[in-house]
Symmetry: C2
Subunit: 421 residues, 2 copies
């Protein structure tokens, strides 16, 4: 993991530098035929689409700093190493869920992978009011499979501990999550920003001692509870879709953490999509159908997650935890079911808590989301955001009491009609 | 961490092999003056006392297998590496609590350290009915200081993650804990044994589904919740005492885990000492004073732990969790106190759970303890052990409801008078 000889690619140099790779020559065609376009619209990296006579590829390269901010915020190249290793694990644990990786160059921090086409970033589709068939099922399966199969429920203890040690090196990206998600939103931190007009709601939230305590309990959980390999940044900007297909991308924030983190962050982004829809209306009420669909996706994600997790629990529980030798083999299959219910309950409470902080940090912290940002009228935007802030608080502080996902979507429907400014 | 050229020491070869070490020549005297005695009475390692003209030293060397069992149970030499690193961290976090390390040879798996004299193993002193002044305070301080200062409450996130990665290599010793503590006692595992006459109590316990579920929840907590660097084997056989002094030894099981693990295992061993005392009576009731003292030690350990942990929380909370920038600096010192109470509550529940499993595994698993083993009359021994089994169950299943350490010691007093066979 050295930066020796590292140099950022450009559209002009890419063919000369990568043209000799057999995998690219084979799948994209001879370098002479390539056209290269830089399309990175994320916050961190260079992303190139390479088009050749035989096909297309994505070339993603880390920069030694945060692209959004510049060289004043250095960020190590090794995030590319963690993205590569996360992608290969996700591909093994949930085949077909992520882009196929064709090549990895650690020193150059380059991952070459399958170009997804005609896929678009899910968040943009949601802002535009477009739907994807099977979205909730696919994401629920992705969460259940990657999170179950990356844990001590499935892996050998030695393999999981070795992998934990490997991903423990992803310090700087974890640091971003630890500070920007769990701390900055709850006080007047330098990098925060929020929509004008939101001040009263922000002030209430930052004066709420119980909420500030809950946020740090969640930070403790995120930083210490190494239950499984997380995607680590599983929002609707990390999902690509067509009308019928769903893929998950960008796991460079991968780290060992609590199962509920990925699920909670994902659900939060659908709840925010729901609450932002009134800001994207062309005519009053014309996003009502989209809003209903989004809450259906939330219900399906959680339902599918529980169903698949339970299925894997019953059929693939081969790790050292809750082992069959102690339960089924002793005629105590009911103990395995009792434990499953407890574990799902734990994941549920964690999910709601992480869901709440994600809703807060996207409105109060550094990294906002297009769902709200693309609402041009700041009054409307603030009204939508205030609902999300209020809902996030309820999820964080009422996590123990909410009986199921229906109660969450019912809350979202109610919040959508209320004024929380 | 290689075993190249590794060779076990013998009393005959030790002076020739280590005589040239300046630290030993200086602190023990010239090798010509040494006498060497092998005294290892533990389950795993070689331990030599080296006596010379100028002083004494302990030379501890790992064997590539479990000493108690033989070469059929291999165990890697690197446990010596983890013991060395744990000892240096404990010495820094709670100065004076552990033997001073004078030399470490990784390839030979040798740690040379201060010889504690006239210290004896605490467990033996307790069996003999002897007391140590300040014991509970010292152990409570040790737990609070090492566990607080090894966590994200105190360390930088990068340092803790690097240390987590380092100790993640201690796989084989963790495996012993994971299986022998959390699983084997709860079914008829091959290495288990128990006192004749205990069968009805054992059968009840192994038919208790809720207990078997609780044990695996605790295993999940142990294996996934990397809150701090644990001692990992903190029982009364890992403590050396005089009438007035207390030191902690043998941290080769060191791993990142939940704060309550060390505290719970430690308290369990005092509760077992308490419940075993009737088996060591020379005349009826002549251990009543010792029993009262032992429960006092339990109360002092927990009380001191809470007091010191709270003190460190208020004065040394410099890590990324519950940071002052979010609380005190915003005029919300009360949030820091609210969070402290929650965190102590979490540690309390964990402590009781881990306390319970430790009580079970010492009676039902492979590694028993002298407190019970030295009771010659098996009927008496089984009666004492049955009480400990019943109490362990109450602690594991009632952990949320017990209001404080007084309730635990009151339970121990009551159990001591009851028949649980």
């Amino acid at each position: 993991m050295t930066a020796q000889d590292y140099a950022p690619l450009t559209p002009e140099t890419l063919a000369a530098r990568l043209g000799a790779l057999p995998v690219l020559a084979g799948l994209v065609g001879p370098a002479e035929s390539w056209t290269v376009k830089e399309v990175g619209d994320g916050n961190l990296n260079l992303v190139f689409i390479v088009t050749g006579a035989a096909g297309q590829a994505i070339v993603k390269q880390a920069l030694p700093y945060v692209r959004l901010v510049g060289e004043s915020w250095p960020l190590p190249l090794k995030r590319s190493f963690f993205e590569y290793h996360a992608l290969t694990r996700q591909a093994a644990r949930d085949p077909g869920s992520v882009p196929e990786v064709w090549h990895f160059d650690e020193a150059q921090a380059i991952v070459v992978m399958e170009f997804l086409s005609p896929h678009v970033i899910l968040r943009h589709a949601l802002v535009e009011g477009r739907q994807t068939e099977g979205l909730g099922e696919r994401l629920g399966l992705f969460c259940a499979r990657t999170l179950f199969r990356g844990s001590d429920l499935s892996m050998t203890a030695a393999d999981r501990k070795a992998d934990l040690a490997l991903f423990a090196g992803n310090v700087e990206l974890c640091d971003i999550t630890e500070n920007l998600v769990f701390s900055d939103p709850y006080f007047d931190a330098p990098m925060n920003r929020h929509t004008p007009g939101l001040e009263p709601a922000v002030a209430r939230l930052r004066d709420d001692l119980s909420l500030k305590v809950a946020a740090q309990h969640l930070k403790l959980a995120f930083s210490s509870r190494a239950e499984t390999l997380l995607h680590g940044d599983l929002h609707t900007g990390s999902v690509m879709v067509t009308a019928t297909e769903t893929r998950v991308i960008d796991p460079e924030f991968a780290t060992y953490g609590p199962i509920g983190f990925d699920v909670g962050m994902l659900i939060a982004n659908f709840l925010m999509a729901h609450l932002s829809q009134p800001g994207h209306e062309a005519a009053p009420g014309d996003r009502a159908g989209m809003q209903g669909w989004l809450l259906g996706v939330v219900e399906t994600i959680w339902g599918t997650f529980c169903e698949e997790f339970s299925h894997l629990w019953r059929t693939e529980r081969q790790g050292m935890l809750y082992q069959a030798s102690l339960y089924e083999d002793q005629g105590h299959a009911l103990a395995a079911e009792q434990a499953l219910a407890d574990v799902l309950g734990m994941i549920w409470r964690d999910t709601l808590g992480f869901c709440g902080v994600e809703m807060h940090r996207r409105i109060l912290g550094l990294a906002h989301n297009a769902d709200f940002e693309r609402i041009a009228d700041t009054g409307t935007r603030a009204a939508c955001e205030a609902r999300a802030l209020a809902m996030g608080r309820q999820l964080m502080l009422g996590a123990g009491a909410l009986p199921g996902i229906d109660a969450v979507t019912a809350m979202a429907r109610r919040m959508n009609k209320e004024n929380h400014l």
